[in-house]
Each structure stands twice: as structure tokens, then as C-alpha cells.
Amino acid sequence: MELSTKKGNIKRKFSKKLSKGNISRLFIAYLYFYSNNAYTTKWDVYLDGILFFCFGENGLCHVLRMELFSTCSFKKKHIDYPVNFNIMELTAQSIRTKPPKGGVRMKIIDVKNLTKTYKKNRGIVNLTFSVEEGEIFGFIGPNGAGKSTTIRTLLNFLYPTSGSATIFGKDIVKQSKEIRQNVGYLPSEVHFYDDMKVIDLLKYSAGFYKKFNQKRMKELAERLDLDLHKKIEDLSFGNRKKVGIVQALLHEPKLLILDEPTGGLDPLMQNTFFEILTEEREKGTTIIFSSHILSEVQKMCDRVAIIKEGELVKVETIENLTKNNLKNITITFEQTNAIDFDLEGIVKKEINGSEMMLLYSGDIKTLLNQLNTMPVQDLLIEEPSLEEVFIHYYEK
């Protein structure tokens, strides 16, 4: 197991071998160390790292490998670890932390019968939903469903045809400017002024708000591995996206609106990005997140609005949406004709020569047991497409 740690010195490596039989399931965790030690706070020590661990048969946690790399150097060597652990496991369960304790949560966004129709686009029809404070709210739907139109109407790039909406209790048309003071927006396609350097763009962006936090800019840029002194035109798509992320987060907004945020980011960067979002939500930031990738939404969101052809199909919690554990399975048999079989949990079946395509929501072990006795050449288990999930979900 190798891990690339591009930047930062590896401060401490720790690994332990386990016999094969012990491994039940592998976990990867990202570690954060915020020192509360009198020694270290003076130097503002900030560390992160990656931890690989698994649970053995006896239920104990075994650390396979731990890599720590610091993002700033230490002045003294004799600091005792661990200082203050904060392990975050990048799985659906742990990222979905509990809502803030106590009290009634405020509605950050309240949309009532919002309709926007314009020339070429289908627009959105009669949307009604609300997003509560501290929530991560997903917008999910196929391309062209109206996700971006909704977001653009909320930000007043577009004027609503009818209906209304408020953000922070303020009208999205009349008080748009005040709303935007506390909103961070990441467009799906980031476009910045090509002639500017990253740092100049970020300063320009910060100039519109009443605050500019240089330290935060540097910290974000460092975590995202973004070179502040490059010109925008020399950046790749992914790097431009990073600039977009930094400019959206820099002024510490109360509401983050992210339109397909992960496009163009490599998996490691996506994880860093999700980490940052997790920290934001812990601070109480509300996040709206649009995507057409189900697993991404599953990982991050509390609730999702499913939007299709401009209409809101339903607002649903993630738990309910993915309860059925739907998988897309393709089985290729050794012989020219697929062997037909039936199992509980098969939602849809399609046979095409030696290939059999299943939409399956049952126990995966049952299926594997069934296949065990069959002449299977190849097996492909995939996340179902959104369409398939929706169709399945709403047929029930």
C-alpha cells in the first residue's frame, strides 16, 4: 500500500503487519491534529496524515499503517504525540455528523413555488423546499434537469418568473446583494480572468467582502496544493476548480453553494475537498451541493432534492434514498447463452447473449453464493445510474 504525499515531510511512519486472515475490511482515515498543548500552540502546529486500519476478528482495531505529514515545520523536536486526535473516517456514516445540538434550526433557504422559464432552457417549475441551518443539502438530477437554473435564480443571476424565495430570511431579488455577502459560490464551470495571477484574483475577490484573511488563503491553497503565483491561463481545469474553491471559502460564508464541485478534481483532491467541507459544516456552515453523481451525494449530504425536467420529484433523506442498496450487476458467462436464475431482490433483468444485466437490491452474498456454482467468466458490480435509482425508487 503506497501513498503519495507530494508535499510535506513525513514525520512519522508507523506500520504493522497483520496476517491475512485477520483482515475483515479495510478502512482509511484522515487524521487531524490540532494541538492544544501549551508547547505547541505557540507555534500553531497543524498536522495531518493518513491512517489505514482494519478491524480484526476479535473486534479490535488494527492499525496497518499510519503516515503523518506536517504542513508546517516544527521548531522543537521533543513534542509528544498524540496531542489531540480527531479521526475522521471518509465513509458515508462518519461524515454525516449529527445536526447541531438543541433549539429549533433556522431555515437558511426557503423556496416557495419558484418558477423560472426562459427562452432556450426548460427552466424550473414550481419548486418548493427549504434548507435548514447547518445542513448539507444535495441537489441531484441528470444534466439539464434544472439544478444550475435553481442555483442561479437563488443568486439572482436570473429573475424568477413567479414564486419567491428567501435566503437568511432575505428576499432573493430585492436583497440579493446583502445575501451574497454571506454566500460562497462555486460554479460548475469555473471561469476566471485569464490575465490575472491566482493571488491577484483571490485578492480581487476578497475586496468585495469586508474581510480578507491572508492566513486562510494560504492555508487553503496549501491544502489544495494550489500555486498562488501562477497565471490563471496557465492552470489546468482541476487547478482552476481549486481557485474556485478557495474564492468560495475565503470570506468564511454562512452558506456555501456548490454546483457540481468535484468535477475535474482527482480523487485525492476530492477527499481533501470533502474534508474541508466537513470542517465547514462543523463550524455550522450550511452547504448546498448539486451533483449528478449519486455516490458523491451519498457521502456528503443529509437530505437531497431530486430534480427532474425542471420539477422537484421529492426531497428525501439520504438514508431513505439508499436504503435499498441498489447495484447494477453485469455477469458474463463462459458459455454463449446466459443461464437464467431468479433471486429475491432482482429488480430488473436483461439477458443479451452471454451477458446478463441485473438491477439488484438484495444481499450481495446471496448472489455470490448463487454464482459460485455457475460458469461465470466475469462479474461487474457498479453503482446504478441516477435514473435507475429514481425509477426503482419511485416505482415502489
Binding site: 443568486l155 451574497r180 460554479p187 471561469h191 468585495f208 474564492q247
Partner: protein
Amino acid sequence: MIFKRELKRNLKSLIIWSVVLSGLILLTLSIYPQFAEQQNEMNKLLESYPEPIKKVFGMNELNLGELMGFYGVEIYMMTTLLGSIYSAILASNILAKEENEKTIEFLLSKPVGRSRIVTEKLLSVFVNILILNGVSTITSIIGFQFADDPDVPTDTFTLLAVATILLHLTFGAIAFMLSSMLKKTRSIMSVSLGIVLAAYFMNVMAGISEDLEVLKYFSPFKYVDAAQIINDNKLEPLYMFIMAAVIFISVITSYMVYRKKDIAV
């Protein structure tokens, strides 16, 4: 913020235009001494020009042997026409570029009102036009020193400078209005340059043929005719009013359109 950014962004093109225009002015003025010396022969040569041509360039009413007359015929044509082209290009780009290059999503997501975007961009257009005019005026004054008698009547020269600025602002404002309405910078630029050249062409046509004289009312170039200004030593109030009105209406329309427009990239 936006104003400063726009000044910076357009600085390079302003410098290029200033250098080119200044170069042309100095080059042209540097031949004036020779011109003045050989006035008689020159005048004879010019006499042989067809009447319409002389009329178009104001040669029939202005004396090329005098510095002011030379300026009115040779230099003024360059500053008015080239400056108008510059103004049209500059203003066509300024609002629509953000939409065309999709940077408007960035700008609009900041806490800034649409009116402020329009105001700062408009201001930057006007300041750029003023700077270009300042440069060409100063260069002309420097160029006048080539002449044996470099003195020109200050009031007439000032009137010409004011007329030029007003003309540039008129074309700038029209192009700016187009920029607020349309999205494709290239088509806006074609239209606004088309307007400038059509106006210039109408002015020429009005000079060539008596029948087409009615065209002059449609051409701002006619409003700032050098011969008229130099000979009457005043600006025609009606023309100035028309230009001011065009500027005013274009600017108001820009605000109205841009504030209410759906901006989707």
C-alpha cells in the same frame, strides 16, 4: 474595485492606441513646415482636386497653409475617426466580455449590485476616452512646435478638443449600450464599428452630393465638422444637444437593461 481592474485590464490597449495616434499626429505635423513653405504650389495642387473631395475634408473652407487649417484637415480627421473606433471597441467589450468569457458568474456571486458593475465599467470607458484625448491633445501641442509660428487660437483649439471628446463619448455610449444588451462580443464589436464607419461614410456622402446632404444629420462626424468650428469659432448647440441626448439615453438604457437582464452563461 471593478473600475481599477478595468483600467488595468485596458491599459495595454490604451497605451498602444495612444502611441499609434501620437505617432501619426507627430508625423503629420512634422511635414507642416515644408507644407507651409511651398504653400503656393501646394494650393495649386489642391485646387486640382475634385470639388467633392475638397468639401469632404473641408479643404474648400480651410486654409491648409495655416496651422489651424492644416490641423483641421489632416489631424482632426485622424483623432475623430481613430478615437471613435477606439471608443467603440473598448465599450463593446467591457460588459459583454464578462458574459462571453463566463467570468460574470464570478463577479455576480460577489456582494456587488448590477448598477455598480455598470457604473464602474462605464466610468472606466469614459476615463480611458479622456486619457486618449488628453494624450492626443498634448501631442498635437507638441507637434505644433514644428511650425515657425506655433501659436494657434486657444479657444478654437479647445472647442475642437471638446467636440472630439463628445464625439468619442457618443460612440462609446452607443457601444456600451449594445454591450449591456448582447452577449457575443464579436458581434457587438462588428455592430459598433459598423455604426462608426457608417456614420463616417454618411458624412463623406453628404459632402460629395448635394442630394445626399440630408445624411449629415445622421452623422455625428458632421456635428463636429472642423471647418464649421474653426470658421464660426463655436460649437453648434443643436448638434451638441443631440450628442448629449444620445449619450444620456444610451447610458440610461444600459442601466435599465443590465439591471433586469437574466444572466446565464
